[in-house]
């Protein structure tokens, strides 16, 4: 089967690709049509499973006709951004400090294990009670949710540095800063980026939970209100919006990862290599001129 596919790909790759895409679209349209039909014929309760056409109408309404989603999106994404930035700075900083220091690491480890086992989002009601309603407690929740993945990943990235390389650098007389810059960071950055990716997706979950509990504004509150009013089509439209945001976050972080940890992929390595070669060449020319 696999051989047949590769052979076909070799001979007529484009048409195969097109046929696959057509099948994808076909399956998708069939599913949607079945769903619509089910809703039309009354097999699916419209209160619980709104028809795709109803969801499309809601999209139009919440984005353009009424346009009420923009404000909530703005509020929620602002909180996500603030909490994510604060949480990941804290996480990476603490992770690096703890990872570089064996004593701190040993004494902190049991607490990290305990905190990892706790469902982080569960702290949300506590933080709201302690910090009061409003943006502060929401940001604190997101910060807490965002803190762990970068912290743990930075820690393991820093700890898992290759011993032999470390010894080589030491024996060549590298300073601590040089070891950090030339050995530890390059090895840790991909792992840290993976942590950041996790953190950003959990930030989105964090803001939703905070808004489910506080119920004042934001996309989470919007979903909750629509569901309470049994306006399921609009609730679905909001969730599909979140799917889109999640997808953008996923793709964006992937791009960023390729850009920052350029030595992990061919294209990035070539791009930076060419730039450095050019810079080096101009520097050489400048020297020979002078």
């Amino acid at each position: 089967m696999a051989d047949v596919v590769t052979q076909m790909a070799a001979t007529g790759g484009k048409s195969l690709r097109q046929r696959q895409n057509a099948t994808h679209i076909g399956i998708f349209l069939t599913l949607i049509l079945l769903w619509e039909l089910g809703a039309l014929m009354g097999w699916l309760d419209p209160l619980f499973f709104p028809a795709p056409s109803a969801i499309l109408t809601s999209f139009w309404r919440i984005y353009f006709a009424q346009g009420n989603i923009w404000y909530h999106l703005y509020v929620s994404l602002g909180l996500v951004f603030a909490g994510f930035t604060a949480g990941s700075i804290l996480g990476i900083g603490l992770g690096a400090v703890v990872g570089m220091n064996g004593l701190v690491r040993r004494f902190l480890q049991p607490y990290v294990i305990v905190l990892e086992a706790t469902p982080r989002i569960a702290v949300a009601p506590l933080l709201i009670a302690a910090l009061g309603f409003g943006a502060t407690s929401k940001i604190a929740i997101i910060m807490l949710v965002c803190f762990f993945a970068p912290f743990i990943n930075t820690l393991s990235g820093v700890i898992n540095v290759d011993r032999d390389r470390m010894e080589l650098m030491r024996s060549l007389g590298a300073s601590k800063l040089q070891v950090l810059r030339k050995l530890v960071l390059p090895e840790a950055v991909p792992v840290i980026m993976a942590g950041e990716r996790l953190a950003l997706t959990s930030a989105l979950s964090g803001v939703l939970v905070a808004e489910f509990i506080q119920r004042d504004q934001g996309i989470g509150t919007l979903i909750l209100t629509y569901t309470r009013n049994l306006n399921m089509a609009s609730a679905f439209a909001c969730i599909l919006t979140l799917t889109l945001i999640g997808f953008l976050i996923f793709k964006g972080m992937e791009k960023l990862d390729h850009h920052i940890a350029y030595w992990k992929n061919e294209a990035g390595l070539r791009r930076v290599g060419a730039k450095r070669a050019q810079a080096w060449a101009t520097a050489q020319r400048g020297q020979s001129n002078a």
Partner: protein, 279 residues
């Protein structure tokens, strides 16, 4: 570092940790008692202990909620893991199936599962059903991805060896692919189990009649922070319980990854083989 005889000196290893913990708690207690920290924001450690004692011993009111949340997380996990593994195995067996199913799995993944909470509650009601459903939805993806990745990453050389010995497709699958996939699969299951707990607790925050999440939001909104923290610690307990159960299973099933377990199993097998050969 962890030689067997280290066990004899375990007090020497644990004592510094214990001393640090006691010192921290003492400092905390003192800070609250001296009034430099607000008691409503941060309750005293002794008050938290008292709350734990009340919840677990004198009133014993937590057990019902504790087991409800535990059951929700476990059932949700079992359903989510079952579906995830079934889909991953089908995807690894059929390229077409994977091609046409995986886009939907990806869409499900980028959607924050927690956003579905209100809708799932509307679908499944205020009882345990909605919590189990949310736990299942949330824990699905890590298990699916890890199982699929594990099943796909077989060493081509080994596969060729299997083929050249005339192994059937079924043999390649059960004796080569599955064992190679198990470590990654268990990593996914471990993540999935903790996420399932998060799903259950979040659904309880949103709307529920019983469970640790409800208990906790009740305590926090009554500003009874000591009891609230005590409840949080019970969630940690559930999390640790689930995590170590999975770790234990991992150790048993994927025995070849740890040297000690590996030699124990191979000794047992050698003994069984020897006694079989005698007969």
């Amino acid at each position: 570092m962890h030689e067997p005889r280290d066990f004899l000196f375990w007090p020497a290893r644990v004592l510094p940790h214990l001393a640090l913990l006691v010192a921290l708690l003492g400092l905390w207690e003192w800070a609250v008692a001296s009034g430099s920290v607000d008691t409503i924001m941060v309750p005293r450690p002794s008050a938290i202990m008292a709350a734990i004692f009340e919840l677990y011993v004198t009133k014993g009111s937590i057990y019902q909620h504790f087991f409800i949340t535990l059951a929700e997380a476990v059932f949700g996990f079992l359903i989510g893991a079952g579906v995830a593994i079934a889909l991953a195995v089908s995807s690894s067996l059929s390229e077409n199936f994977e091609r046409y199913v995986s886009p939907y799995a990806v869409v499900l993944n980028v959607t924050p599962g927690i956003a579905l909470t209100p809708i799932i509650i509307a679908w499944f009601g205020y009882g345990m059903g909605s919590k189990i459903a949310l736990a299942a939805v949330i824990c699905f993806f890590p298990i699916f991805v890890n199982t699929l990745t594990g099943l796909r990453q077989t060493d081509p050389d080994r596969e060729e060896l299997f083929r050249s010995f005339g192994a059937s497709r079924r043999q390649v699958f059960t004796q080569l692919r599955v064992p190679a996939a198990l470590p990654l699969m268990f990593a996914g299951l471990k993540i999935g189990l903790t996420t399932a707990l998060i799903g259950a607790v979040v659904a309880e925050f949103a709307q529920a009649t019983a469970g640790v999440g409800v208990l906790m939001s009740r305590f926090s909104f009554a500003l009874d922070m000591a009891s609230s923290l005590a409840t949080l610690l019970s969630m940690t307990l559930i999390g640790l319980l689930l995590f170590y159960t999975m770790e234990f299973l991992d150790d048993r099933v994927v025995f070849w990854r740890r040297d000690a377990r590996m030699s124990a199993v191979s000794r047992a097998r050698a003994r069984a083989w020897a006694s079989g050969a005698e007969k």
